[in-house]
């Protein structure tokens, strides 16, 4: 169990350190394109992906760095991708919103809202037909929960009884639109009942709550029990995109957001219960800080794609 706890913290700390660093680096103007940061939501990616292995596929969102890290995509290759370098996960041609690594079952971050759920119906169907025991996991946001693609995928997964998990990451805002205003049923999980699929809500600031619920859903899917919808409620630390001034969140303070931080909570509870000493966390923090430092310096030093690379990787064979 202590190995699981260490690994969970390592994943969450890596995501946090990665996001805080790219947030700072973005301000220097060196990173091309757009960034959507996952900081604050770490317990979701870490809690769900802790149950996954190489058989399983994940479809992500445009806020995809956390899912990639939790699914095992190389952190240095991710950083290089964000910097648009040839050593990146997609040879520097995708950037933040398209990081993918099929060898790790990461189907990609996805700029299309609600683009992920239909994809995992495909991987889940393949896993079912080939009897691999694999599951397909789609992370999507509260905005994507209102999209037809998400609801169609839920229907298809239910009709075909697919080994699929639909993870609704409800951070309260679709870009700048409050989910309390835009989601008719208020809870995305309530919609599952319409498809005959179990729908549950968990506290996204609590790794253990996410981990338990996702564990049950993955086991159910692997055993042929069909799809599950889990709505994970939390808030994001940064704005919709890096640089977003978030005037629409005037009612909440950054102080409140930091007081319910999933990493701080995790560390306090695991040390209070006597499962791990504080030193373990300090050591992981130091190790991850070095990893991120190295990732940034290596990315900056790596070559950019050249004109000759323009016509390669246009089509990828699976």
């Amino acid at each position: 169990m202590t190995d699981t706890l260490r690994e969970a913290y390592r994943v969450m700390r890596t995501i946090r350190a990665f996001e805080e660093r790219v947030h700072d680096e973005f301000a220097t103007g060196e990173i091309p394109g757009f960034l959507h940061l996952y900081a604050g939501e770490e317990a979701s990616a870490a809690g769900v992906c802790a149950h996954l292995d190489d058989r399983d596929a994940v479809a992500s969102t445009r806020r995809g760095h956390g899912h990639c890290i939790a699914k095992g995509v190389d952190v240095k290759a991710m950083m290089a991708e964000i910097y648009g370098r040839k050593t990146g996960s997609c040879h520097g041609k995708g950037g933040s919103m398209h990081i993918a690594d099929l060898s790790k079952g990461m189907l990609g971050a996805n700029g299309i809202i609600g683009g992920g759920p239909p994809l995992i119906c495909g991987t889940a169907l393949a896993a079912k037909q080939q009897n691999t025991g694999g599951v397909g996991v789609a992370f999507f946001g509260d905005g994507a929960g209102n999209r037809g693609t998400t609801l169609e995928a839920l229907n298809l997964a239910a009709v075909w009884d697919l080994p699929a998990l639909f993870i609704a990451e409800n951070n309260g805002y679709a870009e700048a639109t409050s989910s309390t205003w835009s989601v008719a049923s208020d809870n995305i999980a309530d919609r599952a009942a319409g498809f005959g699929v179990p729908g549950v809500i968990v506290d996204g600031f609590d790794f253990f709550a996410v981990h338990e619920a996702a564990g049950e859903a993955v086991e159910r899917a692997r055993d042929g029990g069909g799809p599950t919808l889990i709505e994970i409620k939390f808030t994001r630390h940064y704005g919709h995109f890096a640089g977003d001034r978030q005037t629409y969140r005037a009612g909440e303070t950054a102080d409140t957001r930091e007081n319910i931080d999933c990493l701080t909570r995790f560390r306090e509870r695991v040390t209070d219960s006597g499962e791990l000493p504080g030193q373990v966390f300090d050591d992981i923090d130091a190790e991850i800080a070095k990893l991120i430092e190295d990732a940034v310096s290596e990315a900056k030093a790596a070559p950019k794609p050249t004109k000759e690379d323009l016509e390669t990787d246009v089509y990828v064979s699976y």
Binding site: T180, S185, D186, N187, A189, D190, A192, A193, P198, G199, V200, I201, V202, D206, F208, A209, H211, E212, A213, E216, A217, R220, T228, I230, K233, R269, D272, S273, G274, E275
Partner: protein, 344 residues
């Protein structure tokens, strides 16, 4: 009598926990909770109640009621408890109930599960509560039509039915740790699991101790274990205490409906009567204490805790008795000219 007031607290979060995944527990959507509030308000109006105070939430219940209010209808004056900022936690229920007590509510109707009723009970002081089920386990709240419950609550709050005749005081279990004091209405259970996690208990293998205010043979939830072994009626001032263990190590195994859809073997080492005022040390060091079926208190290493059965819990409305009293007094009857003629 001055202005007559009743309160309605509806928990937007009840009925959505992991038991829908592990145990086919029922789903209770926001829309149905909002409908229940409207059925309560319609019934309040018939009883002549002046004012209803309704809790607010970010889950869409109060918003749906507000929309319906805009369409007009024969309801009493409806005010929303919107003075406290919403937190999305149990504190919202506590704050709403306190406001209703301050406003002089004669009855507070609570829509939720055992957890919601527990939080409301800790804040309602001497105001009777009427807990209606929209949660999962529901050993304490009743599965009852809101219209009838609304008539009963309205008749009491408007002073037409004497609360002394149709309410009774229930016992509670008080749990005290170094940092917290909490109550449970039905059961307190000690689990060897280390974290609160997804809150609910559905795996009996981790349970070591169980204390219940009552235990009915037809109960649902953890109190169904003593319910099948050593029943103790709600009317008894005593509760029950059980020591639990793995099924292959204990002399008794009860096949108990610990949650909807989950009938599980639960190993029992022994049991005894839990008398009011008796403090029992919980051997939960480093474990988790569950209140009314939800893991609530995560203990630090070496932190001690005790439980005590207390007779001075909340006053609870007996809907059946209230409606019988209404029938006896003819409160929901009027005599027409034709009726008077017939009597002559």
């Amino acid at each position: 009598m001055g202005e007559t007031v009743a309160g309605i607290v509806a928990n937007p979060a009840s009925g959505r926990d992991i038991r829908r995944l592990v145990a086919q527990a029922s789903v209770f959507p926001t829309a149905e909770k909002a409908n229940m509030v409207q059925r309560l308000l319609a019934a309040f109006a018939v009883t002549g109640l002046d004012r209803a105070l309704v809790s607010t939430d970010l889950g869409g219940i109060s918003a749906a009621v507000l929309k319906a209010l805009g369409r007009g209808g024969s309801w009493p004056t409806v005010d929303f408890c919107d003075d406290d900022p919403l937190t999305g936690t149990a504190a919202d229920t506590t704050n709403a109930v306190r406001r209703m007590v301050e406003a002089g509510a004669g009855v507070i109707v609570v829509l939720g599960g055992d957890g919601t009723a527990r939080v409301a009970a800790a804040a309602c002081e001497d105001v009777p509560i009427l807990a209606l089920s929209t949660g999962t386990n529901n050993a304490f709240p009743q599965m009852r039509e809101a219209t009838v419950a609304g008539l009963a609550a309205g008749l009491i709050a408007s002073g037409q039915v004497d609360p002394d005749l149709v309410t009774h005081r229930v016992s509670v279990l008080e749990v005290v740790t170094k940092a917290r004091r909490e109550i449970a209405l039905v059961d307190v259970c000690v689990s060897s699991s280390r974290h609160i996690g997804a809150r609910v208990l559905w795996d009996p293998a981790s349970l070591t101790e169980l204390y219940c205010t009552f235990a009915e043979p037809d109960g649902i939830g953890l109190s169904s274990v003593p319910g099948q072994l050593c029943p103790s009626p709600r009317s008894s001032p005593d509760g029950v205490a059980l020591q639990l263990g793995p099924v292959d190590e204990t002399p008794y195994v009860v096949h108990a409906p610990i949650a909807p859809g989950l009938v599980r073997p639960v190993g029992v080492r022994g049991w005894g009567v839990l008398t009011p005022g008796m403090r029992v040390e919980l051997a939960a060091s480093g474990g988790v204490i569950a209140l009314d079926g939800e893991r609530e208190l995560e203990l630090k290493t070496g932190e001690s805790a005790f439980v005590e059965l207390k007779p001075d819990g909340p006053w609870v409305v007996d809907v059946r008795a209230a409606m019988a009293e209404a029938a006896r007094k003819g409160l929901l009857r009027t005599e027409t000219e034709q009726g008077k003629e017939r009597r002559r």
